[in-house]
Every structure is written in C-alpha cells, then in structure tokens.
Amino acid sequence: MKGFATKAIHGSLLKPEAHGSLRPPVYDSVAFEFSDSRQIQLAFEGRKPAHAYSRITNPTVDELEQRVRLLADAFGVVAVSSGMAAISNAILTLAEAGTNIVTTRWIFGNTYSLFEHTLKPWGLESRYVDMTDEKALADAIDDKTRAIFLEVITNPQMQVADIDHIVAIAHEHGVPVVLDGTVTTPYLFRSRDHGVDLEVISSTKYISGGATSMGGLILDNGLFDWKKNPKLAPYAKQYGPGALIAALRHEVYRNVGACQSPHNASLQILGLETLSLRIDKSSANAISLAKWLEKQPQVKVVNYPWLESSPYYARAKHLFPHGVGGILTFDLASHDTCFAFQDALRLIRRATNINDNKTLIIHPSSTIFCEFSEEQKAAMGVSDSMLRLSVGIEDEEDLIEDLQRGLVAL
C-alpha cells in the first residue's frame, strides 16, 4: 500500500475480526478480562500487550491510533479526547514547573489560554516570539526550554512560518518541536519529513469526517532523542525511542484521563477513509472563495496562504504543494459590518468549529478571543473587523451566492 487513501481505507485491522466485519467493531467495554492472575499482572506491568481498562487502551481506539501511525509514518500515536487534550498531554509530558516552552501569541485562543491561564500558575513559563523572527526564537531558548510549540498555519492569522528552519534552530539547541497540524493533517503536510518531533492534531476537525465527534491525536515521529529531556530520561533508559509514548501511556495520559471514547474512534476511523477527498474539495473551494472575496470592494483584505497576495505564498506552495485546507480570514470595515454580513447569510452557518463539511463563519474577536483584552487581541493578530470562514465541501456557486448575499446587506 503506497497511496494515502488506500492506507486510510485498508489500514490495519489489528486482529482478524471474528465475524469478518469490514468495519472495525466498537469495543464498548470499560474492562477486559484475563485468563489467570499472572496474565493480568503482566498486563499491568506493561509486559503483555493487552487491553485492561479503556481509560488506558481500547481496541477501537487502538485501531484509530495504528491507522494514523500508518498514514503519517509516525513512531507512535496516542488518541485523546480532544485537540486541547492532545496539546495539554504533550506539554505536561515534556515540561514541568521551573521550565519553559517557546511559542507565539499567534495561536488558537484556547491554546494561549492553556499556556497563560492554566499552566502558568503551576510554574510553566511560556515565552512568546514571532515565529518568523528566527533570531528572537533562538534568543528565547535556554537550558530550561522543553519544547518549541507552533501551529502549521496559524488560526486565525493564517501565518506560515519557516517550519524547516525552526526545526533546525530547535535541534541546534537540543529542543523538540511540537507542531499543531490540525488544519493540514498528514494528508497535506507530513511533519516527519520536515523533522518535526511531535505533532498534535484536533481530530474533531477534518479527521472526524464532518464534525461527528471530538478527538485529538499525539504523533511521535520517532526523531527526537528523549534522553535529552530530563523528565523523560528515566523513560528513555527503559524504553529507548518509545520513551515519550511510554510516559504518556504509563503516566500523564493515564492519570489525566483524557481518553477518547471507542464510539468517537469508530467515527474518526470512518472519517479517515474519506479525508483526502474532503480536504481536496474544501481546499479547492477555499482558494476559489478567497480569490472571489479579494475582488469585492467591501472586503479590505483576504488572508489565505495560497493567494499570491499572501506574504507566505511562496513558502506555502513549497510546504503544502497539494493545498492549504479550508480556513481563510477576511476583513470588512468594522465590527458592526462583520455582524451585519454574518446575519445576512442563509447557507453558511454561524458556528465555532473548523473543517466541517458545512461552511462555517465566525467573528473571532467577539467569540473565541472574547476573554482577552483589546491589547492582547492586537498582539494576537485578531482584529474586530476580521471574519473567519471555514470552507466546507458544498458546491462553490452556492457558497459564492451566499457570500454575495452578505455583501449586499452592508
């Protein structure tokens, strides 16, 4: 199997299915029994590959993990309950009080809130730099830095940093790169090929198959020597390259309890099977809509990395030759104009998700970023006149007709 779609559809059924079911069964069981006392002891000691309790592992969730592993050519994958669970579990595994991570203010609002409001009081420092300023990035790293964290394409600013160069800087300093690859998935961006050490994904988005279920994924690409991380060094002594996955499985992921349900995993396995088709269609729709919006006099600016007007156009074409997904942002005259535009739409839904099959719109400043001050929002690249469009897989002409309806209302 070579092709992405073939692997996504025919990927690993871990064990022969008793009834020949072509879909992986939903193992809707909390616990799994063992033939004798010794076997359950070995399972608890990690000396036997068996499922014991679904908070730790579950056969349906395992199938999702193995299929993603196959698609991304990752060393190991852990599926979790949401994209935020993927980020929090990854950071909690890599870092601790008295250490720091280097990141940027141009990230998803809830991620910034996690770093600033949730983890900071526990003693983890987050250092914010412009990821396109490589000197600032290098200067921010010190011997307490445990990770560089960034998004593959920032949401909602649509910035594309030079990921290859950032990886080189991080590795020069012996620090792993954690990349949020939600909006590209391994279909548009194979993070392993670019030296990224850990990828986190909200599988709630594209992978779920159309906003069917919550989920997150942590992918260890098997590139980083975890002995260099003081917290993971004891695990590296036992598990070698499996140190991070072992630390998640035997400690952080197990203890935090952010497991994915087998029902969600089943939906996400099905979503994987049509992932490439849906990303191709939403990417094609998005570039068409971005070009159309750019021509409208009421629209001040359109941000989409595959637009020739984007400062990231050349880099995006290089990093993402097959497309950049379905997210774009555009600015109208003001906050009130944005609200009037949104309220005139009939097809495009006002909702806070991305990468659904349906096209969605939101005013980020008054919603996702509402907990932040105007100064913070400005630093985060979120203006009051910005709208974010998550372009779905409908017919392009119907979407343009609806956008036209919004502009007419202004």
Partner: protein
C-alpha cells in the same frame, strides 16, 4: 540456559542465545512493539542480533504502546 524473563525464571534448550533468538523462543507477542531491557538497561533494536545472553541474565519485555497486537 537459565534466564529470568519478565521476573520469572525460565530454562531454554540452548547453550547460547541472542535477544532475537529469545524473542522467537519465548514467543513474545507483537515483537515489533516491544522494548527489551537486559539487566535493567534498554537495548537498541539494532543490537538484538548481537546481544549475547549469559546464564541468569534478567530480560524484560516492555510494551510502550499499551496494547494492539498486529
């Protein structure tokens, strides 16, 4: 040859063994998913074929994936 495998003393009908041979002889499940510790130290997968085991060595097979035999 006597070895302590996963905490249990086992006897194998061979005078000398490598880790690769022990994985087969002990019928270790999902060997591609296992980490091997020899006397408490992690052994690189690339060295399984030339890691010679001695009498009474302690060998542990540890699974970092937590489940999911292929």
């Amino acid at each position: 040859m006597q070895l302590i495998v996963n905490g249990t003393t086992e006897t194998y009908p061979a005078a000398a063994l490598t880790i690769t041979e022990l994985l087969k002889l002990a019928q270790v499940e999902s060997p591609e998913m296992v980490s091997v510790q020899l006397n408490g130290e992690f052994v690189e997968r690339a060295n399984y074929g030339n890691a010679s085991l001695k009498e009474n060595d302690e060998v542990d097979f540890l699974y970092f994936m937590g489940g999911g035999a292929r």
